[in-house]
Subunit: 76 residues, 2 copies
């Protein structure tokens, strides 16, 4: 398999509970593809590097990601 | 250092040129923090797993990420 490509879904289940962005080290978004029919959004937490699968349909997830991106614009 | 936490910025430079979403395996968003004063958006490409730093202020980057997240909603 090509480097960095998973051959199946990584998330068994996703959570919708709010996690404060301050607890999040980074967020990884993998679009759906031949390997998995779901978009997968995985947050790595600061405390120990634990990875959590987030529900991409959850409003807070979409808002947090949007705010992260827009904070870059505001700094200009 | 805690697992999964980089101690400095990962991106030396960022690109703004359009990359088709079909070429992207996943996108990793790291908010600014003590390790780095910039938000970092890193796309992993399908062809060989190359990692590219994207400019988070670029409109296409924001639109592609937004569309990825919203495609989850549309599937319901």
């Amino acid at each position: 398999a090509p480097l960095g490509v998973e051959l199946r879904c990584k998330c068994v289940k996703t959570i919708s509970d709010f996690i404060h962005p301050r607890q999040i080290t980074n967020i990884n978004i993998t679009p759906e593809g031949p390997h998995c029919s779901n978009i997968e959004v995985i947050a790595t937490l600061k405390n120990g590097g634990k990875e959590i699968c987030l529900n991409p349909e959850t409003k807070w997830v979409q808002i947090v990601i949007k705010r992260m991106l827009h904070s870059a614009n505001e700094k200009q």
